[in-house]
């Protein structure tokens, strides 16, 4: 044992006690170089999810083929859906000579065999480190007639050593608009609202957005719309290119009557491009999780379009509020820890606060200082937010120390949280990505009024289930 440790780890029990101690927490938070169970993936995964939202688009990974296999099976496991993606399988010789030959041959083969309407090319860190020039390579591929001269391709640089999967989503989306959207026709608009959901792994959320916007009578394009790619109906046939945002809708995107972004941190580059460069009527809202965030979303839509919020949505709102008041006693005063992507946490915090829940530990591995400030503002706006600390750049091993030293009642986050939750002996309600140990969690929305009802249901019922499973026999009763 090295001298700088204070653990007298003579037994497993002693070692565990050390891991659970306050002293350990301090050491744990002092580490600078080692990352342990970080809740973030790398850029190309986000780029791939983005590409899946364009109808007829084949995602194309420029770099090492192992990356493509990893992105695919990570998404396969969460959605339980096929994830078609090709790569140009760069190997050691490409590391020396560059990946141009692989890209040219790969485009040709993929084009001929899989007959896509377009391809979205993005990079792995191998191609980024050797400095491959995608623009030149793709032009050379066209010149070599590997693909037709006018075949639509969008390409994005998605280095995995910058940002996280949400950065990759943003980069790919911006690239789609920059490469494949037609130039704006001055003041003329196509009368359609474009809704950008961001890195959202809930097809149920996209369906909910469509339902709400359509209820308001607003012509809508979701960009990108991976709803069907994430949740394709079983018909007995496999369709490699399910419905999504059409190429025509993508081409016409900059003529939109408006853009609404329902996440703030997963699409910030695209937002700036649309609002500041293209000067399109653009709104950005907090992910509409919970009643108030959904209210704000609908009011923003109404303001942008001049359309009133219809009575049917007011009724829906009423039902969601009813579910919240019906269940308030099960959530009020309960202490929560949560982790996940910035936008998810921002929305989820709003929801917890309006239920009287108390967020305590909020861990966001891929959160920035701007995110921390914004979330702090939300917390400061509620008496229930006083106990919370926002930890950006921290990981799930930090979270474990927090849970062991300052206990809470429940953890909210993706499946990776199950080990921390087990050690802390608290339930994990699975929200976020990836969820790989439960079925169908992605199919029901967590946004909108419907999503609020679902969250209330999941959280309150989990507490009641826990009471039933753990209470002494004499307290086991019919009513809860």
């Amino acid at each position: 044992m090295s001298e700088n440790t204070t653990c007298a780890c003579t037994s497993t029990k002693a070692a565990v006690e050390y891991l659970n101690s306050v002293e350990y927490k301090e050491k744990n938070f002092a580490r600078k170089a080692l990352s342990i169970n970080p809740a973030k993936a790398c850029q190309p995964l986000g780029a791939l999810l983005c590409a899946l939202g364009i109808e007829g688009c084949l995602p194309f990974v420029h770099g090492s083929q192992g990356c493509a296999a990893y992105f695919r099976n990570t998404l396969n496991r969460h959605f339980r859906e096929p994830i078609p993606t090709v790569s140009d399988s760069m190997t050691e010789d490409s590391a020396v000579f560059g990946g141009q030959n692989n890209l040219i041959e790969g485009l040709k083969n993929a084009y001929q065999v899989y007959k896509p309407s377009m391809m979205a090319v993005f990079t792995t860190c191998m191609a980024e480190v050797i400095g491959d020039d995608l623009n030149a390579f793709i032009n050379n591929a066209r010149a070599a007639e590997s693909i037709p001269k006018d075949f639509p391709i969008a390409f994005a640089q998605t280095p995995s050593f910058v940002g996280s999967h949400i950065t990759g989503f943003d980069n790919m989306l911006k690239a789609l608009l920059q490469s494949l959207a037609d130039t704006r026709h001055g003041k003329w608009t196509n009368g359609r609202l474009y809704l950008v959901p961001g890195f959202d792994t809930y097809p149920g959320n996209l369906r909910e957005y469509k339902k709400l916007v359509r209820a308001m009578g607003i012509p809508l394009t979701v960009l990108p719309d991976a709803e069907e790619a994430m949740d394709a109906p079983h018909t007995g046939e496999y369709n490699m290119y399910p419905k999504g945002t059409t190429m025509a809708e993508l081409a016409d995107a900059l003529n939109a009557s408006g853009f609404i972004f329902t996440q703030k941190f997963s699409t910030s580059g695209t937002y700036k491009f649309v609002k500041n460069v293209q000067k399109i009527n653009t709104e950005m809202v907090t992910m509409p999780i919970g009643i108030k965030n959904t209210d704000n979303f609908l009011m923003a839509l109404s303001e942008m379009t001049g359309k009133p919020i219809p009575a049917e949505l007011e009724k829906e709102r009423g039902r969601a509020v009813d579910s919240a008041t019906d269940a308030h006693q099960y959530i009020h005063g309960k202490r929560f820890a949560m982790f996940g992507d910035p936008d998810l946490l921002l929305g989820l915090t709003g929801f917890l606060l309006e239920m009287g829940g108390i967020p305590v530990h909020i861990v966001c591995t891929n959160g920035t200082e701007a995110f921390r400030k914004e979330l702090q503002k939300v917390l400061d706006g509620s008496p229930f937010g006083k106990e919370a600390t926002v930890h950006t750049g921290r990981d799930l091993w930090h979270l474990r120390s927090l849970l062991m030293t300052e206990p809470v009642d429940m953890l909210l986050g993706d499946s990776h949280g199950k080990f921390d939750a087990k050690d802390a002996n608290i339930p994990l309600v699975r929200i976020g990505f990836p969820i790989v140990d439960r079925v169908n969690m992605h199919r029901s929305p967590i946004v909108g009024y419907e999503g609020a009802i679902n969250l209330v249901t999941m959280i309150a019922n989990t507490f009641m289930e826990q009471t039933d499973r753990t209470c002494p026999d004499r307290f086991f009763e019919l009513l809860r």
């Binding site: 350990y24 990352s35 790398c42 990356c67 695919r72 996280s164 046939e237």
Partner: protein, 488 residues
Amino acid sequence: MAEQETPKYTPATPEMVDEVLSAYPDRAKKMRAKHITVKTEGCASCSVKSNSKTVPGLMTARGCAYAGAKGVVFGPVKDMIHISHGPVGCGYYSWGNRRNLAEGELGVNNFVPFQFTSDFSENDIVYGGDKKLEQICREVKELFPTVKGISVMSECPVGLIGDDIESVSKKMSKELDLPIVPVRCEGFRGISQSLGHHIANDAVRDHLLGKKEREEEVGPYDVSLIGDYNIGGDAWASIKILEEMGLRVRNVWTGDSTIEMLQTAHQVKLNLIHCYRSMNYICKHMEETYGIPHMEFNFFGPTKIKQSIRAIAARFDETIQEKAEAVIAKYEPMMQAVIDKYRPRLEGKKVMLYVGGLRPRHVIGAYEDLGMEVVGTGYEFAHKDDYDRTMPMMGDNTVIYDDVTAYELEEFVNRMKPDLIGSGVKEKYVFEKMGYPFRQMHSWDYSGPYHAYDGFPIFARDMDIALSSPTWGLAKAPWKKETVKEVR
């Protein structure tokens, strides 16, 4: 519920393969044709090219050297900390995804469900990651004083920016008095997971094997179980048989294993190797260097298990041989009961496989025990010696495909119409959408174990679940007119 359609199975023909490949551009067609064959009578043309580069742009299921080294070989060693050295993704995607079960206290003597990474930023790419790696090693020791060793699993950028992980490992190993193993498994090396296995085997050879001696003398029945990664508890099921035979399983490589098992594996009498592909290198090394013989065996399905038990026992004396017969006698009636239950339901069903490692050939016997026939099989990353072992096991008019592309496999299935497909998660939902019963044969579809006598009843049950699920009959809405599906 609609009646399930009876699939019209059609055996493979060389013409079928030509037809499928005709969709490719010339160069791709020429390359791919060498990797696919239909075994015909006499088997004159029975060979496939393997272990060569994947054709760019054709959807491959293959992974990379890192996946082979960290994901397969090192990842399951439970009391070591495996650092995914480079950007965050590789460690994230391989985090908990291979079902290597391990017994132990998390954070104390079991680190398998963790993801440790140096999470490279742009600065690390520009200035190099060696200093960071030193710091990481110190932090590992500080935060996990009970850890028994560290492995440094390089990701692509590490090899490209010229970091010297070997020097850092050597230096820190001395400073921390801890084995630290540098593993040069950058994803661009080689053409699949396979080179990663080899690199990892070499790293074990150079840095761990023989570096420690168990004080106890080597017993006459001491063996190592090599190439069992304890997917869903496979190794535990295999150990149970071997120990009931009277053997002492000293080491498992690497399911539920410890660093000591890697260091002291030169102190056994025999190496029993299940996954030949990923561990043959080190077995050959131990044979040459330490004179430890190795033998392949197969614990899938009662027929192969019985043969294997006898073959293993033949390497030992009568005590073991008698116990081996007793083990067979004990379990055979149980296995017969499983066969009696499931065989009538599964008899004659046709199976197509596409997996990695040992399974494309090793599971054939288990299917045959249930009366099922494997009519197509192939490997993601096999070499010639794997196919040499596979060909004799296949019947006539079966198709063998190496590094099959998504397009090829879909087209072969469309034309041959097997009853069941066994492959990976990337293939699963494609074929299930098409209405084909499917089992993941890498992860046992989150079930298992499938190895040994404990595994076979679960295997049989799972295949039956896949084939007889009433959910397949729900696909067609009753008001839809019956249409004959044309082959594309």
